[in-house]
Amino acid sequence: MIETAPIFLTLELAFLTTIILFFLAIPVANWLSHKKSILKTIAEVVVSLPLVLPPTVIGFYLLLAFSPANSFGKFLEHYFDIRLAFSFGGLLIGSVIYSLPFMVHPILSGLNSLPSSLEEASYSLGKTKMQTLFKVLLPNIKPSLLTGIVLTFAHTIGEFGVVLMIGGNIPGKTNVASIAVYDEVEALNYHNANVYAAVLVAISVTILFLLYFSNRKLQEVKIL
């Protein structure tokens, strides 16, 4: 029996992860793009970690952190009555961590590619740091922003290991499409697995196509 819930859940997770990361990554990337200090190097390491760590490592630590038997989980349960393991909120936190470098890196390299004279000109014309970031710098790295958004979205769709470890496979809450494929294969329902897999392939191809297509368009109109 094919259900659409896992697909919509995957899309919902990817959508929310992308929005959260977009607003999180801009200040982080902006801070990292300015002059270097040892603190920033540490921050860069942290931001890049999810890129090299196996998802199972992230999943394992999240599981430990979320458990009400440990301090962080106990704190959340005691003061906020929240339990993150086996919840959509928990998945969202996992996805944000897991996809963090996919949003920060493109934005950071976009900002780094801008000549510093652009920023300096803006300051000398009396613009504040905020105005410079939003009115001058960001509009000039649209392709990078788009790349960050699309890669984050696509990467979250492809998320599996973290979800498998902290999700608990609850229909409509944590049973995302990649997990549904795994379950159907395990249950030897190759037909169902095929359907879910094909939908995921179609979504991913469409997203990547749109990315490369619109980036080409943006490149053409770029002033700098």
Binding site: A85, F86, G168, N169, I170, D183, E186, L188
Partner: protein, 254 residues
Amino acid sequence: MKIGVFVLGFSFLLFHPAGSNAQQKKITVAVAANMQYAFAELKNEFEKNNDVKVNVVVGASGNLTRQIVQGAPFDVFISADTKYPGNIYEQGFAAEKPKVYARGALVLWTTKEGIQLNSDLHFLLSPKIRSIAIANPKIAPYGTAAVALLEKNSLVEDLKNKLVYGESISQTSQFIASGNADIGFTAKAVVLSTQMKNKGKWIELNAQDYPPILQAAVLLKHGLQKHTVAAQKFYEFLFSEKAKDIYKKYGYIN
């Protein structure tokens, strides 16, 4: 220099342990997750009396079945149910019909303070219990049994929002042991294992209240062809009195 490194690397490949002791007989057994603890003892017992080394691959029965059907070089398959070995037999990967070696027992287990276990499962409705772990009933026989038990008590609808699903009995047990789930249904063999003994508390559920968890093993064609004597010997050992004692010790019903 570069060539030296290459030769060194290559010689490691050549003299990898897998290829070196071809003298000793070796078989590979695929073992369902719930059986891994009892199997460790089975393996020691068998290796003590036979000059055969037993390699173990542990996984969910469904996963192992898929691997076998795709040609994984396993000699014997010890499943958590009868469906998957039957499937292997039907697809022509088995040397003979699968046989039941033991019957699994279901327990309710918690590692939380302040949860009183009760054989009347309606205590699960208490708001103190927020999440109940069970193995995915689609692929894990212990999960199917747990759902049947809840259905018998007409609790499935009321507990629906509390259920969380492990992809195998191992993950389900891990959810309970780590305290992420307040309580859960798992195999008796898990709570009796040396690793989990004395962790939290558990009660055994009445075996009449859920369909029997019959666990079958099957001698695979690969085993019969490649390691004829050793594989057959091990397969027979699974049904010996000695093996039955071990199953019993780990909570299986004979």
